[in-house]
């Protein structure tokens, strides 16, 4: 059954099966995106609950002009961004730094390098990035969000997002190479 058919059926009959179908279909992916933004599993779980409550309370506003998945993920990211804005420690994501990035000539690191990392290496690299950098990488490569959409969600222009991603890839590469050089030195004595 298509998403829109389930939405219409839920609106007409409020059947719990419809709710369960949509929830089961999207809960995991919504949670994963919440983890991307909030970086903590417990916060991501709370956010998932809020997101689905909001989705089903506002189902009447969904007109089917976009895909249901697009609509629900838009609510997901916007709710997470609101949570981040409220958290005084983590306002960096929406701070002005991205609007005027420093004029550095970082090398162009292809996506391939990041894609070919082992999971543990990637995890280590992500831990050493700051919140903006980590979130951008995860939105782009884990969640598959387009740069235009990232820019819209964060209220930034596309070129600033592209530049930040470029710098982040270069930084990730340096962290990865530094880690591997240290590992090689330790191995050889």
């Amino acid at each position: 059954m298509e998403d829109i058919e389930i939405v219409i059926a839920y609106r007409e009959r409020r059947h719990s099966n419809c709710f369960q179908l949509l929830y089961d279909r999207y809960a995991g992916r919504v949670y994963s995106k919440a983890v991307t933004m909030l970086h903590e599993t417990s916060m991501a779980e709370d956010a998932t609950q809020e997101i689905f409550t909001k989705v089903f309370l506002n189902l009447g506003k969904f007109k089917g002009q976009s895909k249901f998945s697009t609509w629900i993920y838009s609510i997901t990211y916007n709710l997470c961004i609101d949570k981040i804005r409220k958290d005084k420690k983590n306002r960096d994501l929406c701070a002005g730094e991205m609007d005027d990035p420093p004029d550095l000539t970082d090398e162009e690191v292809p996506d391939k390098l990041l894609m070919e990392m082992q999971v543990n290496d990637l995890r280590q690299v992500l831990q050493q990035l700051n919140d903006i950098e980590r979130t951008l990488l995860l939105m782009k490569y884990k969640d598959g969000v387009k740069i235009r959409v990232i820019a819209e969600l964060l209220g930034k222009n596309e070129s600033a997002v592209k530049m930040q991603l470029k710098r982040t890839r270069a930084k990730a590469k340096r962290i990865y190479e530094r880690r591997h050089t240290a590992t090689t030195l330790n191995t050889t004595g």
Partner: protein, 92 residues
């Protein structure tokens, strides 16, 4: 599978069936609470509004009275005269 997709799979494994169920029950509970509140407002909202209107010295129009305060109903003839008696046959 690249490392980012592996991270996504890990997220999905973390958010296992048990945790999904707990979150789903909380969502259902929130939706039921919202529905209950909506029903209460729908039921008592007009009555509360009428009460406040009367307390402020206004008059309350009900569906059972017209603008002049006469009762509405099937037993009032359209021209405002007294109701027709039993057995009345409308010549029209």
């Amino acid at each position: 599978m690249n490392a980012f997709l592996a991270l996504r799979e890990e997220d999905l494994r973390t958010f296992d069936e048990a945790r999904q169920l707990i979150v789903r029950e909380r969502v259902e509970s929130s939706l039921k609470a919202a529905e209950f509140l909506g029903n209460v407002v729908e039921l008592f909202g007009p009555k509360l509004a009428n009460t406040l209107t009367i307390m402020a010295g206004g008059e309350v129009k009900t569906e059972k009275t017209d603008e002049d305060g006469y009762p509405k109903g099937n037993d009032i003839a359209d021209d405002g005269d007294e109701p027709y008696g039993p057995g009345y046959i409308n010549p029209q």
